[in-house]
């Protein structure tokens, strides 16, 4: 009884952490930045929190603050060179960044524990803390999404040239998106460190990069619900059937291919667009009924 409850709880924890990562990836994609740096930024956050506690005895609050700050600052630094790049080149640069972080983590054994990573990190966060922080992140992103910043992101993503002629500073807003993405990734990394009680460098490699990308591709990159739905589905899928768990790579791969071909906006966004079309079809029918072929009503 308690065994299965504990299993559900740890599953919930996993989903919450994955949601955090998905939100980080979501922010940059919404602003039209093709960055996949989330895994690298989360790694930095995890190490920051782990080292802060193991080396300097920091508590969870300080450790998580350090993790968030580390992620955000790294991302802002990254945004400077990345501002000159577009599309696949941003992707390549951020893949390189994730590799560099992994490589350095493996190399700097004195600081990071090398290939063994950090072990013995105290379990400073449990489900309630995870839930509260993830919810807070969702709230902030949701609020921003409905404000000037969110609309600026949408404009940049859909047509950068138009955005710029409307007074939107592309470099500025993309840097902001990067910073937010880094802060969220850093915080989530810190939470991972305190929850999993260890920081393993390989966990933050290409595998996480692809998985996190899959969350947002599946769910959608406009609505904040998108990454959450994507993370939820892909985290729970392995639990539904053993074969799904064993063939994780195929599942993620198939999801990516099928979704991007047949439902390119992702589940949540496609639904919203469909609902939108229904609603405007009605209003359009009214107008067509009213007006003569030439000229307004």
């Amino acid at each position: 009884m308690t065994g299965s409850l504990a299993a559900y709880q740890s599953l919930l924890d996993l989903v919450l952490l994955n949601c955090g990562l998905a939100l980080s990836q979501f922010v940059v994609l919404r602003a039209g930045v093709f960055s996949v740096a989330t895994a690298g930024l989360a790694s930095i956050g995890a190490y920051a929190a782990g080292i802060a506690t193991l080396r300097w005895g920091a508590g969870a609050a300080v450790g998580l603050l350090a993790a968030t700050a580390a992620g955000m600052l790294t991302a802002l630094l990254l945004s400077l060179p990345l501002a000159r790049l577009r599309g696949v080149y941003q992707a390549i640069a951020t893949v390189a960044m994730v590799q560099i972080v992994l490589s350095l983590a493996l190399y700097a054994t004195d600081v990071t524990g090398g290939a063994n990573g950090l072990n013995g990190v105290p379990k400073l966060v449990g489900t309630p803390e995870l839930a509260i922080l993830v919810l807070a992140m969702v709230y902030v992103l949701h609020s921003l999404g409905r404000s000037r910043i969110g609309y600026a992101f949408d404009a940049i993503r859909q047509d950068e040239t138009v955005a710029v002629t409307l007074g939107v500073s592309v470099a500025g807003y993309q840097a902001l998106a990067f910073g937010l993405s880094g802060a969220i990734a850093g915080l989530t990394g810190g939470l991972m460190a305190y929850h999993n009680r260890s920081v393993v460098p390989e966990e933050f490699g290409f595998g996480m990069l692809v998985t996190v990308l899959a969350y947002v591709v599946l769910g959608g990159r406009r609505s904040v619900l998108g990454p959450l739905v994507g993370a939820l589905i892909l985290s729970l899928l392995p639990e539904l059937a053993r074969p799904l768990a064993d063939n994780r790579l195929i599942v993620h791969g198939a999801v990516l291919m099928l979704v991007i071909t047949y439902l390119p906006h992702g589940i949540v966004d496609s639904l919203q667009i469909a609902i939108r079309r229904r609603a405007t079809a009605a209003s359009r029918a009214q107008i067509v009924g009213k007006e003569a072929p030439d000229g307004p009503a």
Binding site: V140, S147, T161, D294, P296
Partner: protein, 254 residues
């Protein structure tokens, strides 16, 4: 109210001289026309003014201030708005949303306020939506407010793009072939709108191929051919200038 001056503006790229030493002015309260055969460099002029392209030589001044080196978003913030040759609206967004996008620079809410989802943010947004609807009313298109922009007729899409540009509260409006593909009646309506805007004090630059519209609407005109200014002045003078007629290969009966 502002005037736009181009002084010996040139642009070369990939070995091609797209524009050679153009000097022209767009004055407030007047409609200035820019015509010329295809490839003459007209859109290049607009791209240079708005900062999307860098000048190779020359200066561009807005009310005397040099804006040549400014990035595009800064030029827009100074009150220079434009429309595009191939209408660039966000097709998946509603008409209102498209126009509200133009009000970006009017939204001064702070980052913390936005992140916390304060009521003030929502009020500001609602205000912008209201202003967008007022613009729609002015253009007699209120009932199209919630339609997806992609579903509108060409003529209506054009108007939405113009409204979006007006949302910037510009002092200078650059229109790139606004009447393309329109019937005479629609083009005349557009012309009336432009006249109204000029009367309000805007400085309008209109790039057009529709000679009828341009001749009746513009207070003065500039003619480009292969990147060079070949004629300028009042429409009557330009219409009968032999160089202009030749540039259009036998010319259009105006």
């Amino acid at each position: 109210m502002a005037r736009l001056d181009l002084e010996r503006v040139s642009r070369h790229f990939f070995g091609v001289e797209a524009l050679k030493g153009l000097t022209m002015s767009v004055l407030p309260g007047r409609v200035t026309g820019l015509i010329g055969p295809n490839g003459a460099g007209k859109t290049t002029v607009v791209n240079l003014i708005t900062g999307l392209l860098k000048l190779t030589e020359g200066r561009i001044r807005l009310e005397g201030e040099d804006i040549s080196e400014l990035p595009p978003h800064a030029v827009a913030r100074l009150g220079v708005a434009r429309t595009f040759q191939n209408i660039r609206l966000l097709h998946e967004a509603s008409v209102v949303e498209n126009i509200v996008a133009g009000f970006h620079t009017s939204d001064h809410t702070s980052l913390p306020a936005q992140a916390l989802g304060l009521a003030s943010v929502r009020r500001v947004r609602a205000g912008l939506v209201q202003r967008a609807r007022e613009l729609l009313a002015e253009f007699a298109m209120e009932e199209y407010a919630e339609c997806l922009a992609g579903e509108l007729s060409y003529g209506h899409q054009r108007r939405v793009e113009i409204m979006r540009a007006l949302a910037l509260a510009p002092s200078v409006l650059l229109l790139d072939e606004p009447a393309a593909g329109m019937s005479d009646g629609e083009a005349d309506e557009l012309g009336a709108i432009f006249r109204r805007l000029a009367d309000r004090g805007l400085a309008l630059l209109v790039i057009e191929h529709n000679m009828r519209l341009v001749m009746s609407l513009c207070d003065e005109m500039y003619v480009l051919d292969s990147g060079e200014l070949i004629c300028s002045g009042a429409p009557e003078r330009v219409r009968s200038d032999p160089r202009v007629i030749e540039a259009y290969l036998g010319g259009e009966a105006c």
